[in-house]
Amino acid sequence: MTARLSARLPVRRLVAVPTLAALLAVGACSGEPTAAGESQPPARITVQVGADPEEAAVYRSLVSAYQKAGGGEVELVTVARGDHLTRLSTAFTSGDAPDVFLINYREYAPFVQRGAVAPAGPLLERQGLKTADYYEEPLKAFSYQDALQCMPQNISSLVVYWNRALFRKAGLKPPKAGWSWAEFVATAKALSKGSVKGVGIDPSITRMAPFIWSSGGSIVDDDATPTRTTLHEPRARAALQAVVDLVGSGATPSKEQLAAQDVDEQFMTGKLAMFLSSRVEVPALREQRGLDFDVAGLPVLGTPASVLHSDAYCVASSSQHQDAAAKFIAYAVGQQGQTITALGGRTVPSLRSVATSPAFLSPSRPPASSQVFLDAIPQLRHTPVTPAWPEVEDVIGNQLQRAFQDGVPLDEVLAAIRAEADPLLRRR
């Protein structure tokens, strides 16, 4: 009976976490100011987000808190992440777009180029939102054609997740800020014992870009208006070669191991001592009973660098209720809204005052070193904001996978990337 009761506890806990977050937030909402001078309630709006079920619960809490704070009616549409862009594209093409949608900066340029987004800057200004209170990097990433198009909700970066128990077992000290690539490789090799592998790195440009930038290279010829990729150039190639050499050393999971489990799942099960990802992994890792983990900054090849991970709320240009949409966004990225999403664990708040508050930094819940995400902010760069970028990312990812997992020579892969990706960039 006791065993059965204890077995039920985790399920209650997982439901309780977002509920608690909602209650805390709703309770704290009593002091949230509403937009002044409005006599009528805002119009009903539709908000679409791509989210997994637990993240969806956080957004439901956010909407509920907004409505209790005097906001208007909101229909929240949460769809699976993999279906988010499909539904958005179809909805825009058919004239049935949501008033507000959440999107990553790497994917929003095509929507802006097609005139689907109403610039958020002026709309939010009317709601009294001050962009000076927010970190600059995501604001820059969501500025296109010299205007703030969408309002960033978070500012995550690439970090190293590390298993503290496996480090202790291997007799290794915790990673230090600014550790070198050589130290990183040596640590990965030292951790690779028996069935445990040292580090897992997904073959994608968002994982590789920080190392390329760190070694003084670049990923495209011009960040603002890219016309070709530059991964084949000496400094970028050297960084990629360093990663390929690490893969070749046997300190990373084999192709078969990766086919069986993704790197995050291998980390959860103790088969992997380190892996690279953004803040998005935190809720899942927190739920793993017995997993003792923390985060560390990326290793440095030359100068410190990391890559921005950020999502923002956009207003559809076809929306008939753009002011109501802006009011919702102002709340969602405001003190209360960002506190709710920060308590969910998945986001690094883009609002400075929340990012430096216990809602995000509290060491009582892992990772204890959440400050690492904030320390990386001055080093953040972002991948090009251009309509062709999602396709370019796919091309680079597929080719890097050949180099990392199939043993295809790096130069052959880089030539293929130039052949496939460069025409996409020139197609603009």
């Binding site: 985790p10 969806a56 769809v79 699976a80 739920e287």
Partner: protein
């Protein structure tokens, strides 16, 4: 799937599959409604199947008979048109469908997806019925017409009883289609309250690995009605496809 649904959540993903989880976590099933409005979505799907399947059978069987009774070039043209429509990628139809249904004011209801049944759901079912009807002796259909039966009467009293295996097959296939489709409601139906259960299940599919037992419990619940329907109707199904 059933064994996976009984695993304890919030545990590391298993390396293999236990023959029987110990302890079996039956409470995963009661947790599912906390992640999606299961009852409402199941009712939406049930309504969808109950409405769409009979319409599909009627429309496609009539169309199949029409192809068979057409003559010469018209017949070849209709068969060619059906095959051509079958070649059109489903993704190419998403936007036109949304535009059309919005213009008609029929988008965003629990039965919006059932409107596809008015177009036969897929030309494959039409071709299936055309094949089945082509085995009916032409003299029989002509005699029925000479006896004064209307085209409806020929379809209802002569053709339909003779193509019963095709009726059962199309009913089963379209029933499964409407029970499991999620792309059509994803693009056609705006409000989550009007979604069928398959789309709700789809949204759970991105659950974190630690919560997969709950996702699998939802999958069992969503699959069970289809399996149950087959178990109940299997005698009729096999009787219709067996040779006398």
């Amino acid at each position: 799937m059933v064994l996976g649904s009984l695993q304890r959540p919030l545990q590391p993903p298993p390396d293999g599959l236990d023959l029987w989880p110990n302890p079996a976590e039956w409470s995963n099933y009661s947790t599912v409604p906390r992640f999606m409005p299961l009852t409402r979505l199941l009712l939406n799907s049930l309504l969808l199947v109950v409405v769409a399947v009979p319409i599909t059978v009627v429309v496609t069987s009539m169309a199949g008979l029409a192809i068979v009774t057409a003559r010469g070039r018209t017949r070849r043209l209709l068969v060619g048109l059906s095959v051509f429509m079958l070649l059109v990628p489903a993704a190419a139809l998403w936007v036109p469908r949304v535009v059309l249904l919005r213009a008609l004011g029929l988008a965003d209801t629990p039965l919006t997806v059932a409107l596809l049944a008015l177009a036969g759901t897929t030309p494959f079912y039409v071709l299936l019925f055309a094949l089945a009807c082509s085995r009916i002796p032409g003299a029989l259909l002509e005699a029925a017409t000479l006896e004064g039966l209307s085209p409806y009467g020929v379809w209802r009293q002569i053709a339909l009883p003779l193509v019963r295996p095709a009726v059962v097959a199309v009913a089963a296939l379209s029933g499964l289609f409407y029970w499991s489709t999620f792309m059509d409601p994803l693009t056609l139906v705006s409000s989550p309250a009007n979604w069928p259960v398959a789309l709700g299940l789809r949204s759970l599919s991105e659950m974190e690995a630690a919560l997969y037992p709950i996702y699998l419990a939802a999958a069992v619940v969503v699959t069970a009605p289809a399996v149950l329907a087959f178990a109940v109707g299997q005698r009729s199904f096999f009787a219709s496809v067996e040779r006398p």
